[in-house]
Structure formats: C-alpha cells, structure tokens
Amino acid sequence: MEIYLPIAEMSVHWLIVLGMGGAIGFLSGLFGVGGGFLLTPLLIFYGVPSAVAVATTSSHITASSMSGAIAQWRKRAVDLKMGAVMAAGGLAGTGFGVWLFTFMRKQGQMDLLVSTSYVLLLGTVGALMLNESLGALRAARSGAPAARRVQHTWMHGLPFKVRFRESRLYISVIPPLVIGFFVGVLSAIMGVGGGFVIVPAMIYLLRMPTNVVMGTSLFQIIIVTAATTVLQATTNYSVDIMLAAFLIVGGVVGAQFGVRVGARLRGEQLRLLLALLVLAVGARLLFGLILRPDDPFSVSVAQ
C-alpha cells in the first residue's frame, strides 16, 4: 500500500519507510547511538527533500531516545542539573542552527551546508573512533589496560563554577553550555541528536563519571531534538508527521533486535564496526561533493 507523505509531497510504500526506520533502529540499538546521522542521509538518498529529511529525523531521535532515557532515569543515572545546563546551550544552538538552515535554504546552499557538515563531522568522529577502537583492540590483545589520563586542564580556570552533585564535579558552566550549543547547531542543520559528540565530550572534556553520561546525554538530546522539531515546523514547515510516525514505529521495534544482537558482540568490535560505518557514510557524502555531478543543473520549485 502506498502512502502519501503530505509535507515531503511524495508517494512511498509504507513497508519501505517502516523498513528504513527498522534498519536504522536496529543499528542504533546495536551500537547504542541515536542513528540520526544514518537516517538523514538515507532519506536524502531515497529522494526525500533534504529539508524534510533533516527536520523529520529530529522527531525520530526524540522517540528513539525515550526508552533509553526512561531506563536510565529508573537507574537514577541522570544528572538533571548538568542536563539542564547543556539543554539551555542546546536550545540557543538550535535557534541559531534553524536560522542558519533557513538562510542557506534561501541561498540555495542548503544541500552544501548539510553535506559539508556531515563530511566534516563524520570524518572527524569516524577517524577518532577508528583510532580508539583499534587501540583498544590492540591493548586487549596484548593484555595491557588502555591508558587514560586524568589531569587538570585550562577548563578549571573558567569562571561561573557550579557544583554538579550527581556528576561529582565542580566546574564552570561555560564548557557544558558551549558543548550544548554546538550540539544544538548540529541537531538543527543535520537532524542528528549529537550523542556521538556529547558522549565523548562529557567523558573526555568535562570528565563526567561514565555511569551518568548515557542518561544525561539522552535527557539533553530529547529536549534539544524536541525543540528542533518544533522550530523546524514553525519556520520551515518541513516536518512530515506521517513520515515520522512510520520511521518511529519501525525504529523502536528495530532497536529492540539491535540491542539483543549487540549484547552478544564485544564492545571494541562494535565500536570498530560503527567507526567503519560512520566513515563509509561520510565518504559517500564526500564523493557527492567532489565528483563531477551527472547534471550540474538542479531545479527548485517554490511551494
């Protein structure tokens, strides 16, 4: 049965959309990531207009982060104060990101903005993850524990220090605000939750204890992607609720299977796989930017 997506203005078979949601859900359950960085490019490759793909994926991330956040909440593994500070930065970032998105859309450079952001971010994150997971695999083989340095950094000299009880930290609010802002911008222009940026930032920059990292980042992601969805709906009219519904239903079911398979694989191997996947998506988008296009002309029709 075909369904007509009222905002993307295209007919698709419902099984295809459900399947895409399921496949991305499976991968996100497998790797423990939101999957926005895979879903947005997949929708674009499938022919959904980039604006609709980015905006609709935000609502998918809100849903797929819910069950994880609830589970972490029950374990009391959420630092609400830290989450709130990062979300505040995130909301400002989302506002700026949606503004930038609308501006670039009017300039006809939105695809460039989306592709370049993806290439830069996926390239960097993928390379870092690949390096880290290869190092961890080597370390596991030689039997030595992976080295982790803990030291005072320049961040401890910043003003506006606040005590974050659950994270056992006494640090300035500026770094979490800035990280939140940066992730908010990414959320708006790429349709990602930004977990693959927040989680390393929390661990390596803020030095939060790992037990609260997952819950706090999910908490922040839910707030920021929800805000992004509303902002995209009100400024760009680009959220497709029908597409979102099918993607979410497929996604939450797929995630359950992903989690089960993921439990049987080793962490380092999973991270290596994820790094390769991230690099592959980044490379695909990079080729789109540097290879001579089949047709240099493109047409956009006013709504």
Binding site: M10, A63, M66, L112, T234, I241, S298, V299, S300
Partner: protein, 249 residues
C-alpha cells in the same frame, strides 16, 4: 498575457452565430483529481468532435494541459576549490508547474512558429512572466525543461491526439504521482491549415483530500501546534515502546 487575449478572441469569434463553419466540441473525463493516500498518478482523457467538417484542407487538434503558475529556480553547480557547489542561478517567475501537449502531428508541422508562440504551444514556447539571471538564461531554461520532463511534469506527445472516426478524437494526458495542487486548464485547439479556428478551455482541479490534506493544512495553518503534536507523538511512541519491551529486558 498574450495567450489569453488570443484565446479569448478565438472563443468570442467562434461563439458568433456565423454560418455553419467547422467547430469544436470537447470534454474532459473528470473535472477534479483528488490526491488520496493511494494516489499513484492517473490519466485524464480528453475527447471531442469536429462539427461540420469540411472536405478540403487539413484539420489538426492540439490538446494542452497547463498547471498553476509557480516560481522556479534553476541552479548550476561549478567547481570551487575542489567542491561542486551551486554558483549561478536563474529564476523563472510564473512558469506552469505542469505542462503537457498532445497533438495529431508534431506541433511544428501543424502551424508556424509565431502561431505556436502566441498560444504558447510546445515545450519551446512556454514563456515565464519574467526571468532574472545574470547570465544567458537559455542553458538554464533548457535544463529546467529537461528536469521537468524527467519528472514527468512537462511532456510532449506528437501523435497523442488520435482520430477514432474522421471527426472524433481522443487524447490521454498522464498526470504523474507527484503533481502540484491547484487549478489546471485543459485547452483544446482546432487548427485548419495552420490557423486556429476554434478553441475550448476547461478547468481541472487537482487537490489533496482526506487525511493528507488535513495534515498539510494543519502544518501550514498552525505550525506550532503541528510541531508540538509531532513531538508529543514521538514521546508517546517512545514511551509506549519502552513499556511494551520492558518485560523482555
């Protein structure tokens, strides 16, 4: 718009109670197309007859279907420091969002180019109200037509109008799955030896109906509630899934 003046002139002219000359009666299989969830494109049948046919001379029928006017931007990518990005652009104001022409013969065989230009018949004779471009707009126009043809929004079918009997004709106009909403016009022209002697214009409405229409309106009329509803749906679905799958964990 010259085209309309010309069309009106022909309509007035043919409405005059003159002696029994050749005339045209035409109809369209439907006056509305409703885009529902199961819509995957359709065919509109245009049919008609020539009244009081004369024995000498050549009759030709041309069917033109035009969609609502819309603004289109064509962008051209070029290479800047190794990256292909949109550099040049041309804006076409008030281009038909859909255009299809079917005829008994290739249109350039039917009438002289100035006649075709006057009635905007044929893909090369679609003229926007205004073009804004810093460069020669011709390559952009060609690219525009090519893209719209590829998307089945523009089309040309010489031989698409077929006479079933000497005076009865029929044409099949394909309307693709992705088609803009709005008022379309079905125009039927009767040419005799290269001159329009009769013409008829019938409106055709294409609209979304049902749930899709309501969602589209909702998104555009009250975007804030629409955005909040989407978030609420996402939160609820996420929460329900965690309830459903909880006991399995």
């Amino acid at each position: 718009m010259r085209r309309w003046t010309a069309l009106v002139a022909v309509l007035v002219f043919s409405a005059m109670p003159a002696r029994a000359t050749e005339d045209l009666v035409a109809g369209v299989s439907q006056d509305t197309i409703e885009i529902t969830s199961s819509y995957t494109g359709t065919d509109v049948i245009v049919y008609g007859a020539i009244e009081n046919p004369e024995d000498t001379g050549t009759n030709d029928v041309v069917v033109v279907v035009r969609g609502p006017d819309t603004d289109m931007t064509v962008r051209e990518k070029s290479r800047v420091v190794g990256i292909w990005l949109n550099r040049d652009q041309a804006k076409f104001y008030a281009m038909p969002a859909y255009y299809f022409v079917a005829s008994t013969r290739p249109v350039d065989k039917i009438a002289a180019s100035y006649t075709l230009q006057r009635y905007a018949i044929g893909l090369d004779n679609i003229v926007p109200e205004r073009i804004v471009s810093h460069h020669d707009a011709e390559p952009f126009r060609k690219a525009l037509i090519r893209h719209l043809q590829h998307d089945s929004l523009y089309g040309e079918q010489p031989g698409g109008v077929q006479f079933q009997f000497p005076t009865l004709f029929i044409a099949r106009v394909p309307v693709p799955a992705v088609v803009p909403r709005g008022q379309y016009n079905v125009e039927v022209y009767l040419f005799r030896d290269g001159t329009v002697i009769s013409a008829q214009s019938t409106p055709l409405f294409i609209d979304q109906t049902g749930l899709e229409r309501r969602l589209y309106n909702f998104a555009h009329v009250s975007p804030l509630s629409y955005g909040l509803s989407t978030v609420l749906m996402a939160v609820l679905l996420g929460w329900i899934s965690s309830l459903v799958f909880r006991r399995n964990d």
